[in-house]
Symmetry: D2
């Protein structure tokens, strides 16, 4: 299966605000907190295309992270609003890849960028992404 | 069911070390982290009396927290070792209560104290604590 | 200092959505996650009255939690939207108290209720709440 | 500066036990939790060579994560003991790299492997790793 992605359609921007408990003693966002932001953003990415994670889970289908890679460019701080630019970059037979740029909303500073590969699994193991699902993933955000 | 508890037998001390990611921008342990320490401690409390949470879960039995109360007395800091003194203080028909004193290991300073009430539940709802289980809960730590 | 609070003015409702990473193996929100929701809500409560936590921190003033108490009434699940009803219930000389009701947005089910007492501190210790600050705390949300 | 590392000396194994709150609704360890295990392990790696993070922080020196990469091989579950095999793989002028293999203690299953690059920073920015520090990093664990 080859899925050609339209870069503009494949991108959503999800805003989060840094929580107090997500900072650490260096006074900045702890590096693990960005994984939460990326998870929030890709679930919202799916929702904006009509896919709720709850409906997937009802069918016994999950999308666990199987690979991730991150570069930290600049620190983010408590109470700052961050835009998580989330782009579906790859749809494979049994996996998808999302790329992220996390930028400070006020001045556009790139704080973190990264990528995650997610496997599509059900209770028996890897779950083939259907043509129907692939079509949905190619959608842009609904108006 | 009335269960009389022997205070000495009902008490275990579990040591944890403060993780970097558990601190916040005030430079001290975030208040939510103590809930993790208390959870670690009561699972260890059970293990030392021969009860693994895994074996309970295999029987479909869980012990969710239904009430908690905490007082924060002094801040704890990164890398400090903390002793979580954990005492079973009540065994009800369908619930148990544990009390906690979290003290800094080096100097005995009381950092936090609190209590949690846990319901015993299975997939259908509240699950009566058997006489057999109550007996086990009255045990002291195994040698 | 006696501060009389207008119950309607003292209340704000802040919506959060349950994150995947906030659930646990019981399939519901982990009990510690509610402390994050309450923290998010009270910081938003302050912001809606013109107080940013950042500006307080710039003056070296913080509001650490010194007491908390929670009752868990019903489980919340992944992706559900929760309304954190947050009410300032007490303004003392060096502390404030907020009460919370966390309800599922779709059907109004009360999931968790609780209270937190926060001390007002600076680098030297307890910090007296000024008359000016007390006045601000009595404000209702800005239009 | 070129630092030649002795692979055996450069390696420490740190055991952690999976906490209840570190699992998610899929019933396994949430992918972000491994970042905590890796952080715990590298702080312990340093301690076993005589370096406490506290002493570094007293000198205003920190080691924030600037890059990380992870592959998830097999799920870990609640209450399992995990061995975090931690190896210093690179000492640069202003950064160090650690590699990790996280294996289930009971059967040696590789659950996660990864790498983190850490910058050495002080309040002014990047902080050159001294010859003295580089020597310490080449030490094996103390007896």
């Amino acid at each position: 299966m080859t899925v050609t992605l339209d870069p503009a359609a494949a991108r959503s921007v999800v805003r989060v605000r840094v929580r107090f408990g997500e900072t650490d003693l260096m006074g900045v966002v702890h590096h693990s907190s960005y994984l939460q932001y990326m998870e929030v953003a890709r679930i919202e990415w799916l929702r904006r295309r009509g896919i709720t994670y709850a409906s997937m889970a009802d069918h016994g289908v999950h999308l666990p992270v199987v690979e991730l890679s991150l570069k930290y460019r600049a620190p983010a701080r408590f109470d700052e609003e961050m835009d998580v630019e989330t782009t579906l970059s790859e749809v494979g037979t049994v996996s998808v890849r999302f790329d992220y740029r996390i930028v400070r909303a006020t001045d556009g500073t790139l704080c973190t960028e990264g990528t995650t590969k997610l496997a599509c699994v059900d209770s028996r193991g890897l779950h083939r992404i259907s043509e129907e699902m692939a079509e949905v993933l190619k959608r842009s955000e609904r108006a």
